[in-house]
């Protein structure tokens, strides 16, 4: 069974006043298997972020369904959806992933803390996650004291810390230079190969997309192409 599946997913932003409604996503069917590394590409405004937000339960679709591990997200109330986000999904945004008031370690531990995990255990898990992204030495620093690449690696660590079913990353490298970008991508790749972590990554960058075994191309809210290169495919 697919870890994540969408059926005829649609999202229309109703325009306010004179503005016309925007159909950001129009009928997307997508199935993602466990351990897959999927890159979603497409031109700006093609609906990538909107799709990802629906996959992660950040926004609800106008029509269609999202099934995560067989569960229809539309059936869940807000609190249950929050619990799914907390335990089963890891998010990485383009920027401002971390709360500026908290240290890196605290930021990474946050999902566990939210889940009521004790101090000692959440800290240990956060440290482990930071080690996995090679950021353990900066655990006590605040986000402002870290470079953009370091912040993004921290965000990946936070996404991983609960052992989620799937990691959703929206242009995690969009604000980074090529070296840092490569490091983050390499990190995600390693997660897929070493831990069989499922990752969906939205990106503009063909170099980044190339790292993924499967590339989904979007255009005007629809899937234009879906190709598997086989390199890391099962």
């Amino acid at each position: 069974m697919s870890i994540l599946r969408t059926e005829a997913l649609e999202k229309t932003f109703s325009g306010a006043g004179a503005e016309a409604a925007v159909a950001a996503v129009r009928g997307v069917d997508l199935a993602v298997e466990g351990g897959e590394f999927v890159a979603v590409t497409g031109s700006s405004g093609s609906g990538k972020s909107t799709l990802l937000h629906m996959l992660g339960g950040i926004t609800r679709p106008t029509a269609g369904r999202v099934l995560l591990e067989g569960i229809d997200l539309a059936m869940l109330d807000d609190d249950a959806l929050a619990a799914v986000r907390r335990r089963r999904i890891g998010f990485v945004f383009q920027r401002y992933n971390l709360l500026p008031e908290l240290s890196l370690l605290e930021n990474v531990a946050l999902p566990l803390v939210l889940d009521g995990v004790g101090h000692a255990r959440s800290d240990a898990a956060a440290r482990e996650a930071l080690e996995a992204v090679d950021m353990a030495h900066r655990a006590g620093h605040r986000p402002d004291e870290l470079s953009g690449g370091e912040q993004q690696r921290g965000a990946v660590a936070r996404a991983l810390v609960t052992g989620p079913a799937i990691v959703l990353a929206d242009e995690p490298t969009g604000a980074l230079d090529s070296t840092n970008s490569a490091r983050v991508v390499e990190l995600l790749q390693r997660l897929v190969t070493e831990r069989r972590q499922t990752v969906i990554l939205v990106t503009h960058d063909p170099a980044v997309a190339a790292a993924a075994a499967r590339v989904v191309r979007m255009c005007d809210g629809r899937i234009e192409s879906d190709s598997t290169s086989g390199a890391t495919a099962r």
Binding site: H53, G56, I58, T59, D78, D79, A82, A83, V84, R85, R86, R87, I89, F91, F93, Y96, N97, L99, P100, E101, L102, E106, L110, P111, V113, L114, D115, G116, R142, P143, D144, R158
Partner: protein
């Protein structure tokens, strides 16, 4: 793009933030206007209250050895600051025939026309008497006799029988002020002529302006008098009302000052947040080439605009609120509401102040934001407070404490007036606020332990938020500390002084009926003594009387200081009506029996007398050494009293007459005594009042004053609450994105709300605790301040109800203020909140 465009854009983009900043100024200015108007209404109410209860505040000039004196002896005193009018009084018991009734009444000779013109003689009908054959009667007496203006009265004077015409009827209240017991008003020269005593007066009553300090005027007047004459508070008049009102006025000053302090905090806080929140945006503008000065000017301009709008709205709201508040206070004081008389400069001044405050408050964070390293400014987290700030705060706290201590000490040794306690109280409070940043974090951490396990997560995050935002936390806490300490401090002070006065009153007057000497002291001492003895015997012999205690009152001097000498029976079988300081009642009783005296604490302080001293006491021109056995708490004549047993006073000074008779009835027979006592009182020119009548008068004052103070205090609390609500709301709005991020990674809506509310409540409780300590300290300060005012320290009680109400209110206000915006923040679409900047 010009900076002004950016300003407008920013407002449009974040209307909540600009609105909250303007609202803070509105709250502050509204508070100042409303509090000011309410304090004014209270002061006016107190003044009218004193006038109705105890008459116009006044002083008497009398002969040192009693009896009449030549009015020519009195120098000019009208020009002494605080003197409203000078009223020579001449009393004469007379026989009248009105219609078919023959009455013995007390006539008083005054310059009636002048009195009426000064507003001191109020007529129900007719006009004041001017000619020799004109008379004004007490309205109640006239009604009882069925006569009115134009009717005739036969006046049996010493020399002749005069036929006089009633020209006016005076209200009892206005007569009572200058002529207690007198019912007939005649022109002073006419009465003197009829009594063959030209230019002689019994006393000269000096009416004081409402805002005059009685003791200052008394000193100034006394300084001009020849040795034969003395100036004093009218004998027998409860100057207690005066003392209560004095403390109440002090309380008013205090509340007004505190509200100003609070307003300053609220504005400072809002402006700081308004600018600090946009630090990144401002840095970006600088990055694009704006100079620091341009940015500061931009921020200052914004503050002035927001301040101007807010101040105008606040002034309007404050004025609108002032009406009902003043009316409520007048009602509480049972004085006629005269409407709000707002000083014409108050509103413009409040607006200028609001704008000035806003600009000043915005300038500092603007300066900080522009002096910040650009990179640091662009960072997303606010910088931690630099250690220099910490040191500065500690130094400021130390200095403020020093100022408070010094001014309190100067006041305690009476170099400074009691009003200085306002200075020390405010300085102390600010000192507490400056140390708040250091106390708040450990306190919050401590409180965190009591968060139930279920909410551990939210609690931990909430504590993090508090700890990581020291400046904001400190400012919010500052508003709360001021509000809570205001409530607790003044609440304690009000209750303590009221209880003190009531306890004294209960000790002093334990009787069912009280007979007091009416105004006349003119008859010779021997005559009065004889009269008094007769009356006492008569009253004692009445059926149903259990006990009669006589109190004699005279003006005297102790070691040169003017005082009231009180001679009182103090029978052994009744509780001692005194509260000695540092000596047991039994010891005092024994000392009094030996012929020693006790001095009121204020007198002791003024005359430099200690317990155990032997001092020269002058009464009726006779100087005698008397030993002071102890000091006692007393409000008679503001505590400047010397008390001794009546038998001793008779022996030492020849004080025989009782000016006051306290009559205790046998159980269940009090009511039946009214008639016989009334008959005797009339015969001997005494006033009869039941204890409950007296008590009612006191209660009107005390309750009125207390409720007026509470209402102003309540106003302060509303202001504090609005300020706190504003601050918390701004702080929640500002965290929109963080809250969205927390939800994105799986925090439930309920958890988010709980976290925000917990943060706020913890801040509320922690500030409440600091405010509690500050409030109790303030209360102690106020009490110390009352030492020179009252002559004795007030007993300090910790009042759990006041504390509980204040802390509870702090928690409820902070919880509500956080809950409402937090609910709104989590109702937002998640997508919208994470894309918020």
């Amino acid at each position: 793009m010009r900076l002004r465009t950016l300003l407008v854009r920013q407002w449009r983009n974040r209307p909540g933030r600009a609105l909250a900043a303007a609202a803070s100024v509105a709250v502050a200015v509204g508070a100042v206007v409303a509090t000011w108007a309410a304090a004014d209404a209270s002061r006016a109410g107190y003044r009218r209250l004193t006038e109705t209860i105890a008459g116009v505040p006044s002083l008497d000039i009398t002969a040192r050895d009693g009896g009449r004196f030549d009015a020519m002896l009195v120098p000019r005193v009208v020009d002494v600051p605080g003197v409203r009018a000078v009223v020579p009084l001449f009393y004469r018991p007379t026989l009248l025939r009105i219609g078919d009734n023959r009455l013995r009444e007390m006539a008083v000779g005054v310059d009636a026309a002048a009195l009426a013109a000064a507003g001191l003689l109020a007529l129900e009908a007719g006009e004041p008497c001017r000619e020799d054959d004109e008379v004004v009667l007490d309205a109640t007496l006239a009604k009882g006799l069925g006569v009115g203006v134009g009717d005739e009265v036969l006046f049996f004077a010493r020399r002749r029988i005069a036929r006089m015409r009633i020209t006016g009827l005076a209200t009892g209240d206005s007569l009572r002020w200058f002529a207690e017991g007198a019912t007939v008003v005649v022109d002073i020269q006419a009465l003197e002529a009829m009594s063959l005593s030209t230019a002689q007066v019994d006393r000269i009553r000096i009416a004081l302006a409402g805002d005059a300090d009685r003791s200052q005027v008394m000193a100034a007047v006394a300084g001009r008098l020849p040795p034969r004459l003395v100036a004093d508070v009218p004998v027998g008049r409860a100057s207690m009302a005066d003392d209560v009102l004095h403390s109440a006025n002090l309380g008013l000053d205090f509340v007004t000052a505190l509200t100003l302090a609070m307003a300053w905090f609220i504005v400072g806080n809002a402006m700081l947040m308004n600018v600090a929140e946009r630090r990144r945006g401002l840095s970006l503008v600088r990055l694009l080439g704006a100079t620091g000065r341009q940015v500061r000017r931009f921020v200052t301009l914004e503050a002035a605009l927001l301040g101007g709008v807010g101040a105008t709205v606040g002034a309007v709201v404050g004025l609108a609120a002032a009406g009902p508040i003043s009316a409520g206070i007048s009602r509480a004081l049972q004085t006629p509401a005269t409407g709000v008389a707002v000083h014409p400069l108050l509103v413009p001044m409040a607006i200028v102040m609001g704008v000035g405050l806003a600009v000043a408050a915005a300038w500092w964070p603007a300066w900080e934001a522009t002096s910040l390293d650009l990179l640091e400014g662009l960072a997303s987290a606010p910088p931690a407070a630099p250690p220099a700030t910490t040191r500065k705060l500690l130094v400021a706290g130390g200095l403020l404490t020093l100022v408070a201590a010094i001014s309190e000490a100067l006041m305690y040794v009476e170099v400074w007036p009691p009003r200085a306690s306002v200075v020390s109280g405010i300085a102390l409070l600010l000192a507490f606020v400056t140390v708040t940043p250091f106390l708040i974090v450990p306190l919050v951490r401590f409180l965190g332990r009591f968060i139930p396990d279920r909410w551990r997560v939210e609690g931990r995050l909430a504590i993090d938020q508090i700890v990581r935002q020291p400046i904001r936390t400190a400012l919010t806490a500052g508003v709360l500390v001021v509000a809570v300490s205001n409530g607790i401090g003044l609440g304690h002070a009000i209750r303590d002084s009221v209880e003190d006065v009531l306890a004294w009153y209960g000790r002093m007057l334990k009787a069912d009926w009280v007979l007091t000497q009416a105004g006349a002291l003119s008859v010779s001492r021997e005559e009065r003594s004889a009269d008094s003895r007769r009356l006492e015997t008569l009253v004692r012999g009445l059926d149903g009387v259990a006990d009669v205690e006589g109190i004699g009152v005279a003006t005297g001097r102790v070691a040169g200081t003017v005082c009231v000498v009180i001679a009182r029976d103090m029978p052994d079988d009744r509780p001692l009506p005194l509260e000695p300081v540092g000596m047991s009642p039994d010891e005092v009783r024994a000392a009094l029996a030996r012929g020693e005296a006790v001095a009121g604490t204020v007198l002791a302080q003024r005359a430099g007398v200690k317990a155990g001293d032997e001092v020269t006491v002058e009464v009726f021109g006779r100087a005698t050494p008397v030993k002071i056995a102890a000091l006692v708490v007393d409000y008679t004549s503001g505590g400047a009293s010397l008390q001794l047993r009546r038998d001793a006073a008779r022996r030492i000074f020849g004080m025989e007459a009782a000016d006051v008779l306290l009559v205790t009835a046998q159980p269940g027979r009090a009511a039946g005594l009214r008639e016989p006592l009334e008959a005797n009182a009339r015969e001997y020119s005494m006033l009869l009042r039941s204890f409950s009548e007296l008590r009612r008068g006191i209660d009107v004052i005390v309750n009125g004053v207390v409720s007026s103070l509470w209402s102003i205090l309540g106003l302060g609390f509303v202001v504090g609450s609005l300020g706190v609500a504003n601050t918390v709301t701004m702080s929640v709005l500002e965290k929109k994105r963080s809250l969205g991020l927390l939800r994105a990674i799986g925090m439930r809506r309920g958890q988010v709300v709980r976290m925000v509310v917990l943060e706020s409540i913890m801040l509320g409780i922690a500030s409440g605790i600091i405010g509690l300590v500050a409030g109790l300290t303030t209360a102690l300060f106020i009490q110390l301040a009352s030492q020179p005012l009252l002559g004795h320290p007030l007993k300090f009680h910790v009042r759990l109800d006041i504390i509980a109400v204040n802390l509870l209110a702090a928690v409820v206000v902070t919880a509500l203020a956080a809950w409402l915006p937090a609910r709104r923040a989590v109702r937002l679409d998640l997508l919208e909140s994470i894309s918020a900047e």
